[in-house]
Structure formats: structure tokens, C-alpha cells
């Protein structure tokens, strides 16, 4: 019988216990890190090279989103405007403001401005802006009340559960197409639900939930 269990089997219970504790703490640490806003970066608000304020331009002046983010209706990508777009107005408005020094130089020299990226989905996620805004999903749904922000920050988590929540039940996020870019628009929640349900039916919105929708 003495040969039945080798000698090292004596150490096995202790090894299992240590291994179990290690694994459990790794899982806890992993969840702690990856499932919290620290990882999803809600509230991430870097300092941009030019202190551009959405609150002033959109909230006060009423500039349409598409004046700068021109590609949003046609492309998967909602582009950051080129410096020349800023200069359309700022040739006349605040033409010598020191805060706009970088923009003026950029438009003159052709050197691009390095805006700090805030909303960053991983490379294995495909997101198409055009599809969403053209089917009545407003900017607000993912980017929050950007018309009130002086410095842009990440408002929603943009994690997978966030996408799926809406794809399972798109009705609360659907607007009439002429209100998609009206960021201050609001409606009674019950009316929103009724209207959204009607849009889902009328526009034949079939928000897919299979993996290859985004992970293509």
C-alpha cells in the first residue's frame, strides 16, 4: 500500500489550498479592475490641446453637430473637424484670441492638431455612426448631454452590456429623425416609450444581437 500514493501527494492539499486562494484573489482583482468605471473610463476627461467648449458652441450658439462632424451621416466614423472648419468662423470671430493660436497655426501650416481621443472602442468592435443616427438614435444616447460640457468627457461606459441593453430594447432611444441632433430635446418617458415602439415597428428596426454584429 505504501506505493499507492507517491510522496509528493502529502503536499497536495496545501498546494490546492494555496492555488485556490491565489485563483480567487486573481478573479476578484480582475473583476475589481475590469468591471468598474476605472476600466470603462466613465468620466475620463483629458485636457485637450485647444479648450474647445461644446457648451458654448452647441448649447449657447446652437451649432448643429454635423457642421463639424460632417461624416457622421455617411460613415462609420464621426470625424473630428479639420482646422480649416474652425477657421470658417474664427477668421472673423475672436481672430486674435490666444486660445486659438494652435488652430490658426495648424490651418496655416497644414500641421494637424493632436486631439486626445476619449471614446475608444477596442479594435475588435465595429461601430457605425451612420447606421445609428440615420435610424433615430441621438448623439445623446451614447455621448450624454454633450451640449452642456465645457470639456468633453466620457459619459457612458460604451462597454458591451451598454450596447446590448439598447439592442435588446431600442425603443427608449429612438427619436423622430429631425430631433436626432437636437441634444436638448426631451420628452415625457411614457410618450417616448410609445413613440419608440411605433418607430421600431414602422422603420422595421431589427437591432441584431448576434456576435458578428459588432465583432466582425
Amino acid at each position: 500500500m505504501s506505493d499507492f500514493f507517491p510522496k509528493w501527494a502529502n503536499r497536495l492539499p496545501r498546494q490546492i489550498a494555496v492555488g485556490g486562494i491565489l485563483a480567487a484573489s486573481l478573479v476578484t482583482a480582475g473583476i475589481w479592475y475590469y468591471f468598474t468605471p476605472k476600466y470603462t473610463r466613465v468620466g475620463y476627461q483629458p485636457i485637450q490641446p485647444v479648450p474647445y467648449s461644446h457648451a458654448v458652441h452647441v448649447g449657447q450658439l446652437g451649432l448643429d453637430c454635423r457642421y463639424c462632424h460632417t461624416g457622421v451621416e455617411r460613415s462609420w466614423y464621426a470625424n473630428v473637424p479639420s482646422s480649416s472648419v474652425c477657421m470658417n468662423c474664427h477668421k472673423q470671430v475672436l481672430p486674435n484670441d490666444p486660445r486659438l493660436e494652435l488652430v490658426r497655426n495648424s490651418a496655416k501650416s497644414g500641421e494637424p492638431i493632436g486631439w486626445v481621443q476619449i471614446h475608444l472602442t477596442p479594435d475588435f468592435v465595429y461601430f457605425n455612426h451612420a447606421v445609428h443616427v440615420n435610424r433615430g438614435v441621438s448623439c445623446v444616447s451614447c455621448h450624454g448631454q454633450i451640449n452642456e460640457l465645457t470639456e468633453v468627457r466620457e459619459e457612458k461606459s460604451l462597454a458591451m452590456f451598454f450596447c446590448l441593453e439598447c439592442h435588446r430594447n431600442p425603443a427608449p432611444n429612438l427619436r423622430p429623425l429631425n430631433q436626432v441632433y437636437n441634444l436638448a430635446w426631451s420628452i415625457d418617458p411614457q410618450m417616448q416609450q410609445d413613440m419608440g415602439t411605433r418607430f421600431v415597428h414602422d422603420w422595421k428596426i431589427n437591432s441584431p444581437q448576434y456576435c458578428s454584429t459588432c465583432h466582425r
Binding site: R41, P46, T70, G71, R74, S75, W76, Y77, N79, V80, P81, S82, S83, S84, V85, S106, A107, S109, G110, E111, P112, I113, G114, W115, V116, Q117, L120
Partner: protein
């Protein structure tokens, strides 16, 4: 494979291999060299800190650095928009450019998909009236050519890069030297091309140097198609053609053909205009309803080609015997159609008609069935004749002119007249 044993560590039972003449001679120098662990030029660490120790320390420090998870922060990334955006450009939306790919005898009309100035896909141009979006494998693969590092991008001279100024200087000197003699001894070697721009330049140069000579070289000659077409359609060729040396270029409506016989003609693969033929052949097979007709392809070939793979009936014969099959097929068609042989067509075929060689062929492809090849030809001829005016016989560029002439006569309605140019 037998592994090569390390030098020296061989027993006498196996055959001795040697790797250098030193080893074969078994010189004392070589023995000394072999006994060292590292060759003479390799430096050994003789310090107290050995290499092994160094790696140990470093891996421990990397591990400690990793414990802090300093590498797990997301990096700050930047978005660099245009400073001055080009007009009509949307990032993320591909742009399409209509273009064409020059080949030997024409240009394939293409549509190139580009994102951010980089071509990523090449397809046929669907708006082109002739090709209607057809491409072949060369056109599809040509997107890789655009990224080919060996693509001509700068001047070279004797294989080395040359500065533009130097090249222009050389060309100017050459021009000065040649203009005194009218270009005597000046030769240009070029590939075949249908480019009108090149023709114009050629004419400009010829005007300046009238005695310059031009040579076209192609590794594979596809001109036999043209020669056969010119020969069999003499009236059209001599009246309409401005360039009698090239004559007529045959153009086949494969989509309208009901019966196609290919005599070693790989029209779905490597022959000229295959991008048109592939589309035409597919169109002839496309059925919209149950009563729609469908083309039938007979292939006689020596190689296994795409055409043979798509054929309904494939006859595998040596390349040298295609002529024989063609002659027998011609003879069989004439016999079955019952048209009197006024032009003496059959007499011309006589030297090729030999039942014995057909039997030998059958014996090779189907042992024990000596009549197999001749039966194949009979059925093929029957099918050709039952689709008068809708049949097409094609001969490949590897075949001699005689086969091409027979094929040209066999296509369409001319076969039934028994006329031969």
C-alpha cells in the same frame, strides 16, 4: 531524411560525412578548433557575472516591474484630423475610381476601391458597355502590383538608381548624338501594348529619328489568333484594316454560343480576353427558368486547365494530336452535313486523316475501347451541326495556324458552307 551528425561525433559504423576539407583531412588545427566549445571569434564571458546569471537577474526585475501593472494603463491616443480637409472626402467611406489595366492587346476596364488613398480591391467596371464588370484573375490580383516594392518608381541605369537630372542629361546627350545620324543604330525594345499614348510617342520619336528601329518582344505569341482570323476573313481584313500586319482581331460572343468546342484553347484561364470569355461562358450557363437553354462545352486539351475542368466533355490528348482531332472533326462535320465539297476542303485534310492514329489515341485514354475517340468526334460533330449558327470552335495559341484555320471555319455558319479561304 537522414539527420546530419555533428562533426567528429561519428562512429565508424555509419558512413562518414564531412563538412569541410579540414575535417576530411583531419588536421590538428581542426581538432583543436572542434574541441573548443565556441569558435575562435565568439567571445566568452569570463567575468564573475556570467550570461546565465545576468538573464536570471533581469527576468526577476522584469517580473517585479510587472507586479506594479504599470503597463496596464491605457495609452493616451490622439486623433489627427486634416488641417485642411480635401474637398468631398469622408473618412471611412471608400472611394471608387474608374480606370483600366493595360494588357497586350487591349485594356481591362476596372473600378478600384480605395480607402484613405490606398487601393484595397479591384473589380471590373460594371458601366463599361463591353465588359460589364468582368475581370479575370490577373486583374483581381493586380491590386498587389500597386504595393509591389519592385514597381518602377524611379529611373534606374544598369540596375542602379539614377538621379532624374542625370537621366535627363543622358537622354539629352543621346538625342544630340542621334540627331546627327537620324537615329541610325537606335533600337527600342518593348512589350506589346495597345496604348494610344505609346503609339503617339513612338510616332513623335520616329519623326525625329527616322532611322530608329522598333522591336516588340513577347514571351508568348498570341498573334496566331489574329493571323487565322485575317486569313479566314480575307475581304473584311484587306478592306477595313489600316494596319494589315495585325489584321483582324477575333472577338467571340461566347454568351450566345450553345455548343463550344475548345481545341486546346484555355479561354477561361490564360488565353487573351479571358475576362470577357469567363463572363460570357457563365452567362451562357445561367438559367432564369426551367426551359432556358444552356451551353455545352467540349474541351480537347493536353494540360488540365480551367476550361477542361468546366467542360461537359473533356478529351485528353497530347498537344501534338490536337491537329489530328481537329481534322477528323472537320471531316466528320462535312460528312454529316452532306454538303458537297466543292472547294476541295477534304483533300486538304487528307494527310491528317488516319483511323490508325485515332485508335492509338483511344488505346491510351481508354484501354480496350479502340473506337472511343472517333465516337467522341462523331457525337461532337453531331452536336455542332444540330446547333447551326450557334456553335463556336476555338483553337488555342499553342496550336499551329492550320488548327486555327479549321476552327475559324468551324465557328458559326461558315463551317456548313464548307468554304475555306
Amino acid at each position: 531524411m537522414k539527420p546530419i551528425p555533428p562533426p567528429g561525433a561519428e562512429t565508424q559504423t555509419v558512413r562518414r560525412y564531412w563538412r569541410s576539407l579540414d575535417q576530411l583531412a583531419d588536421s590538428p588545427d581542426f581538432r583543436r578548433w572542434m574541441e573548443r566549445e565556441f569558435p575562435a571569434h565568439a567571445s566568452e564571458m569570463t567575468d564573475t557575472i556570467t550570461r546565465r546569471h545576468f538573464v536570471k537577474i533581469m527576468s526577476a526585475s522584469f517580473l517585479l516591474a510587472g507586479v506594479g501593472l504599470t503597463g496596464c494603463r491605457r495609452p493616451v491616443t490622439n486623433i489627427f484630423p486634416f488641417a485642411n480637409a480635401p474637398e468631398d472626402y469622408t473618412h471611412g467611406v471608400p472611394r471608387f475610381y474608374a480606370t483600366s489595366m493595360p494588357i497586350r492587346n487591349r485594356a481591362v476596364p476596372l473600378l478600384v476601391k480605395t480607402t484613405d488613398g490606398r487601393p484595397i480591391k479591384i473589380e471590373g467596371n460594371p458601366l463599361h458597355p463591353q465588359s460589364r464588370g468582368a475581370t479575370d484573375h490577373f486583374a483581381q490580383a493586380s491590386v498587389l502590383d500597386l504595393y509591389d516594392p519592385d514597381r518602377a518608381q524611379r529611373f534606374t541605369r544598369s540596375g542602379n538608381d539614377a538621379a532624374p537630372a542625370e537621366v535627363y542629361d543622358f537622354l539629352r546627350q543621346l538625342s544630340d548624338r542621334l540627331s546627327t545620324t537620324g537615329g541610325k543604330g537606335f533600337c527600342v525594345l518593348m512589350g506589346q501594348s495597345s496604348s494610344p499614348s505609346r503609339l503617339r510617342l513612338q510616332q513623335l520619336i520616329s519623326r525625329k529619328f527616322p532611322r530608329a528601329r522598333w522591336f516588340v518582344y513577347e514571351p508568348v505569341d498570341f498573334g496566331v489568333h489574329w493571323r487565322a482570323a485575317t486569313l479566314t476573313h480575307p475581304r473584311v481584313g484587306s478592306v477595313g484594316s489600316e494596319r494589315p500586319e495585325t489584321g483582324l482581331s477575333p472577338s467571340y460572343s461566347i454568351d450566345k454560343a450553345r455548343v463550344i468546342v475548345s481545341l486546346d484553347h484555355d479561354f477561361l484561364g490564360l488565353e487573351e480576353d479571358s475576362y470577357l470569355h469567363i463572363r460570357g461562358f457563365a452567362q451562357g450557363r445561367r438559367l432564369a427558368g426551367p426551359s432556358d437553354p444552356m451551353n455545352r462545352l467540349y474541351a480537347v486539351e493536353s494540360l488540365l486547365t480551367l476550361t477542361g475542368a468546366n467542360a461537359d466533355h473533356r478529351l485528353r490528348v497530347p498537344s501534338s494530336c490536337i491537329q489530328l482531332i481537329a481534322a477528323h472533326l472537320a471531316e466528320e462535320v462535312m460528312r454529316q452535313s452532306g454538303i458537297p465539297d466543292s472547294a476541295g476542303f477534304r483533300a486538304g485534310l487528307e494527310p491528317l486523316l488516319s483511323d490508325q492514329s485515332l485508335r492509338v489515341l483511344s488505346e491510351r485514354t481508354k484501354p480496350g475501347e479502340p473506337a472511343w475517340t472517333s465516337r467522341w468526334i462523331t457525337e461532337c460533330a453531331l452536336d455542332l451541326l444540330s446547333h447551326r449558327g450557334e456553335s463556336l470552335v476555338l483553337a488555342g495559341h499553342r496550336q499551329p495556324l492550320a488548327v486555327h484555320v479549321m476552327a475559324q471555319c468551324g465557328s458559326g455558319k461558315r463551317w456548313q458552307n464548307g468554304s475555306m479561304a
